[in-house]
Amino acid sequence: MSADQQGHHIETPPDKGTGATASGASNANRIVYGLSAICALLVVADLFVHKHGYFKIEHVLGFYAFFGFLACTVLVLAAKLIRAILMRPEDYYDK
């Protein structure tokens, strides 16, 4: 896993300390809040939609929202776990 540590992590959120990326940080915050607001609106909209779903679970309030969020979280976390198993140095096959 040495390559893992040497590799450049790019998922690090923008550094809040430096002025250069301060607007980037506030942008990122704005995106999070804006997205959350849209999501909340969509869940509310769910109340006014008549559903024709074939499966019972579809009729649960906010099912698609919940399912989308859960599926992604689970898959991301699963990927993070599996990464430890699958990841090899870049020149793995060339050795």
Binding site: I10, V43, F55, F67, G68, V76, L86, E90
Partner: protein
């Protein structure tokens, strides 16, 4: 021999003329004419079976025009045109010719009415397309191309074996609905499955596409797998086994697409995932599902081509497609970034974009047929697409903190190709009837209901929220330069690892077996070289006496055998 020419042959014949045309302008104009001419010709053909010919005593049907083949042929021709525009800036006639022959053979395969014609074009796609990989000229491309070629040709060989046995058993070569109950049917399914990147058979795709040239990847992403989808839709509609296969494809690729650093590899895995959706649709087999698979193939071609084009433009300008070396390109390549976002929205199946109108068909079909787990799996994979394709790819390339040099805007022809593709992505999303009217089965479907729009938006937005939060809290897996193990591991590192396993289990009883396999594998090569190399028994020059001796032995053996 034939009264009617397969439209694919027009493209291939045109491609053969390309190297002989002087000047880039003339050549470019001619290449643009090829798909247009083929399309115009296709429009004049009525529905039906044509091009009957007899070859080696076999009745062939080289041209079959029905709704299924027409929709694939049409979208292939459109993609060919877009690909040609995208590649116009190249001066490399090898890539131009190979790409057009490849496109032409895929189109020819779609219109093939019998297995022999199909097999011919099937192998031609393999052989012509490998040049698009080799053309990038790196050592990695060379070996990836060779592996690609072996697997693709191998698929053709299996197809041929299946076809021969099928012909033997039924006496017909017509390519129609097949059954998996019989051995030939299974063999042919495996052959199709290799090209369709079934799980464990998929890694040729993930290895070869990112290794190809900038323009080559765009062309590659269009044809091989979608041709396989066509053959599955034609031959194996309603084959139940395809449902779990498709769902597996859709789900396991999510992991790889999330982890990969090379954005073209991300797209390659994502492409396999979308193929899974189509395969599952074909497995469900209802009219709605088949329509969905076909429609999704058409939309997938467009938005994956668009994404590959955008990332290709990035690679063209910055020299890399690795997420860890990119970022912030939205400022320097604003148009490319816009088109990439449109492709991403289409991939995420956001309403009024191409992916929306086709994915809905398959999910509705799964629902109506009562395949709950398949539906849930595909829905989850669809949510994950939002993260790993629709957000991750444009984000790391264009919007994340810049990690490398800023590029310059893509060449005009690339922008034109991307613009046209993006327009098609939006056009189909806004006006789905254009696509629906071409679909093979007669079903009415209305994608734009309030319910559907709202639920899909919920799915997309919450997936996006999950991504943003994961990124925020450092939960998103790091995308570093690394190799991800995949099923190609099984053939790329067998000797070394088997040796390790054998060492570990030396005390066990099967030690002998494992040891034997390991030693056998490593020894086979050496033994072959020992006996057949230039100094080996079968490779070196024998003394005259030894030649005479073996002649005598043969004579003796023949005579003795005669008297036995």
């Amino acid at each position: 021999m034939t009264n009617e020419l397969n439209p694919g042959l027009i493209v291939i014949l045109g491609a053969l003329l390309v190297p002989f045309l002087p000047g880039r302008v003339l050549r470019g104009a001619f290449m643009l004419m090829i798909p247009i001419a083929a399309f115009a010709y296709l429009r004049t053909l009525p529905m039906g079976d044509f091009g009957q010919m007899e070859l080696m005593g076999l009745q062939l049907q080289t041209l079959r025009i029905d709704k299924l083949s027409t929709v694939f042929g049409t979208i292939f021709l459109i993609a060919t045109l877009l690909g040609v525009i995208y590649a116009l800036h190249l001066g490399d006639w090898v890539q131009h010719t190979a790409g057009l022959i490849y496109a032409g053979s895929a189109i020819g395969a779609v219109f093939a009415g019998d297995f022999v014609t199909l097999f011919f074009f099937w192998e031609l796609t393999a052989i012509s397309s490998v040049f698009l990989i080799w053309a990038s000229g790196t050592a990695n491309a060379l070996s990836a191309g060779l592996r690609y070629l072996v697997i693709q040709v191998g698929s053709g060989v299996i197809l041929l074996a299946g076809v021969l046995m099928h012909y033997r058993a039924t006496g017909t070569l017509t390519f129609g609905a097949m059954s998996t109950e019989t051995l030939p049917g299974t063999l042919i399914l495996i052959a199709f499955g290799i090209k369709c990147a079934f799980p464990l058979l998929h890694n040729w795709l993930a290895n070869a596409y990112p290794a190809a040239t900038v323009t080559g990847t765009v062309i590659l992403s269009v044809f091989t797998t979608k041709l396989a989808v066509y053959t599955l839709a034609r031959g194996y509609a309603g084959t139940e086994i395809l449902i779990p296969i498709g769902v597996t494809m859709a789900l396991f690729t999510v992991i790889y697409a999330l982890l990969e650093n090379d954005l073209r590899r991300v797209l390659a895995y994502s492409l396999i995932g979308q193929l899974g959706l189509m395969v599952a649709g074909i497995g469900i087999g209802s009219d709605l599902a088949i329509n969905g698979a076909v429609a999704h193939a058409a939309c997938g071609i467009l938005y994956f081509a668009l994404l590959f084009m955008a990332i290709g433009a990035v690679l063209h300008r910055t020299g890399t497609a690795h997420a860890s070396k990119l970022g912030g390109l939205a400022k320097s390549m604003p148009l490319t970034a816009t088109f990439a976002v449109i492709g991403a929205l289409a991939a995420a199946a956001v309403p009024f974009f191409a992916g929306f109108i086709s994915k809905a068909l398959i999910l509705s079909a799964a629902m109506k047929a009562g395949h709950f787990w398949a539906w849930a799996g595909l829905l989850a994979a669809g949510a994950a697409v939002v993260i790993h394709t629709a957000i991750k790819v444009p984000y790391f390339a264009f919007f994340a903190k810049a990690q490398g040099e800023p590029g310059t805007e893509a060449p005009a022809n690339m922008l034109l190709a991307m613009g046209l593709t993006a327009a098609l992505c939006i056009g189909l999303g806004v006006y789905p009837e254009a696509l629906y009217s071409m679909l093979p089965r007669e079903v009415k479907y209305q994608p734009y209901t309030t319910e559907h729009i709202i639920t899909q938006l919920q799915l997309v937005c919450f997936a996006a929220l999950a991504f943003v939060l994961a990124l925020r809290f450092g939960l998103f897996p790091a995308t570093t330069r690394a190799t991800l193990l995949d099923s190609d591991w099984f053939y790329r590192v067998p000797g070394r690892h088997l040796a390790m396993i054998a060492n570990r289990f030396r005390s066990f009883t099967w030690e002998v077996v494992a040891d034997g396999i390991v030693k056998g594998a490593s020894k086979t090569y050496h033994a072959l070289y020992h006996h057949h190399g230039p100094d080996g028994l079968f490779g070196r020059t024998w003394p005259t006496g030894m030649m005479a001796f073996w002649t005598t032995v043969t004579l003796g053996a023949v005579v003795i055998l005669s008297y036995l």
